[in-house]
Amino acid sequence: MSRRRPPWGAALAAGVAALSVGALAETFDVREPSLAPYRIEGTGIARPLTGRAGDPARGRAIARARTGGHCILCHAMPIPEEPAHGDTGPDLAGVGDRLSGAEIRLRIVNPKYVLAESMMPAYYRIEGLHRVAAGRPLLGAEDVEDLVAYLATLKGR
Amino acid sequence: MTTVRIRVPSTVKQGELFEIRTLIQHPMESGQRVDDNGRPVPRKILRRFVCTYNGVEVIAADWHPAVASNPYLAFFARAGESGSIEFAWTDDDGTLTRETATIQVT
């Protein structure tokens, strides 16, 4: 049984320390009120937040939608029917080759564990934020899983 | 209070084409939007614009809800005689906004 979620600063420190050696060495559980708990092991979150695999077709819709994840705001994606994808984040074509499902999941849930300075929002987090308008995460657990399932299908370029 | 901008050259040569530019402050509320509480916002647009030159119509336009707020219109007229150019915008509620410019034809 691993320990409970460490204080936020410590969690970030763990993330930063891990980054400099190239991999997260620690395993720890993250629990936030009203969110599904998850366990970070190494460089990812192996277990789906909902306990089961998501739906890639729904995930693709969430990546497109302004009211969903709207991933294309910042990332180029193989979604040709949408014009004008953003470019503040990396191109996600082939992301399924570069990262495992567990690694993709951690990057959506909270990319600051991977890179503390990251510009990318944590889509499944409510604590430790400043002046937040709504007390709910940007995406629900099912939406995160649908996105993970979709992104994992993006192979080859 | 409605702010209007008109640009007409002060002098023009007889027979010459000259440009008239108009800009009027108006929300041009389409009537198709709802407010923060979900209630429809009543339509309020300028529905007609007329420009006359010494009493003769230069241009008349019927405007519809898709016209953007603060409508800008530019058009041309041919210089006849010195006199006045009159502009009139009619609101949905019947309010009339008038403006006059004078022109010297040489």
């Binding site: 294309i72 004008a84 503040t88 934020l129 400043h130 308008a133 940007l138 | 901008r5 800008y72």
Partner: protein, 260 residues
């Protein structure tokens, strides 16, 4: 041990590299938002007649001459019959008001004049007359360079503004700097990210079809990153305004700018 030293050296090199870049950014002259807009909007902004923001400037010119309040005074009675005698003054706000012991931006300067000199009620932030007067004064200072007082008591205000600029906020956990410093020139879909300079405010926003103050723009950015917006005129917004003035020093005033 060797590995340790190597990685240490690498970290040091990286730190040097990043500070070098940061300093480089600081020295680079600021770029107006005009450089980032689509050609059609640029044309609209530069057309003195068609620029819809000029409607507010005109209205401001009328208000300049209208007496108001129990004192029955107009702006023109004290500051110049035809136009503001010290037209450039608007380029230098916010300033520190020693008597009140706080920084004052153009909007609150106008309202202080109203309440104290004209004995008239203050104009609501973002009301048409306050937007009109602000736009009129800033337009009077058009093409003059933005200046910022960051000496004396303003030092702390500008420093606080920088903190606000760098503070992550909202569910999106973004600071102003993430877009307007680290990703300038990149795109969020069809929107090109500018430096977030303030030299064109109040600005006509085509998508909102109205003139907007700098503070309302701050609120819109806050809302966009899902942060609770601050009140118009809030101390932190005034501080951010002061930091942006310092950061944009040298840029020509372009009020009223036209943006998407």
């Amino acid at each position: 041990m060797i590995l340790f030293r190597l990685s240490h050296g690498l970290v040091a090199a990286l730190v040097l590299l990043t500070t070098g870049v940061a300093q480089g950014d600081d020295r680079r002259p600021p770029r107006s938002g005009l450089e980032f807009v689509a050609p059609g909007l640029r044309q609209l902004q530069e057309d003195e007649f068609a620029n819809p923001g000029m409607l507010w400037v005109m209205r401001g010119n009328q208000l300049w001459r209208e007496p108001a309040g129990a004192a029955n005074k107009s702006c023109a009675d004290c500051h110049g019959k035809e136009a503001p005698e010290n037209a450039g003054a608007a380029a230098g706000y916010p300033r520190f008001d020693a008597a009140r012991g706080r920084p004052v931006n153009l909007e609150s300067r106008i309202n202080l004049c109203r309440t104290e000199e004209m004995r008239a009620p203050p104009l609501a932030y973002e009301s048409e007359p306050l937007l009109a007067l602000t736009a009129y004064f800033r337009h009077a200072a058009r093409s003059q360079s933005m200046v910022a007082d960051d000496s004396g008591a303003m030092t702390a205000v500008v420093a606080r503004g920088r903190q606000v600029f760098e503070q992550r906020r909202g569910a999106f956990d973004l600071a102003c700097r993430h877009c307007h410093e680290l990703n300038v020139g990149k795109s969020l879909r069809e929107e090109r990210i500018s430096e977030g300079q303030s030299n064109g405010f109040p600005t006509y926003r085509v998508s909102w079809q109205t003139l907007v103050s700098l503070h309302r723009r701050f609120q819109a950015c806050d809302t966009a990153v899902s942060a609770e917006p601050l009140a118009l005129g809030h101390d932190d917004y005034v501080a951010l305004e002061a930091y942006l003035a310092r950061r944009g020093t040298g840029l020509a005033i372009e009020t009223p700018a036209v943006r998407r």
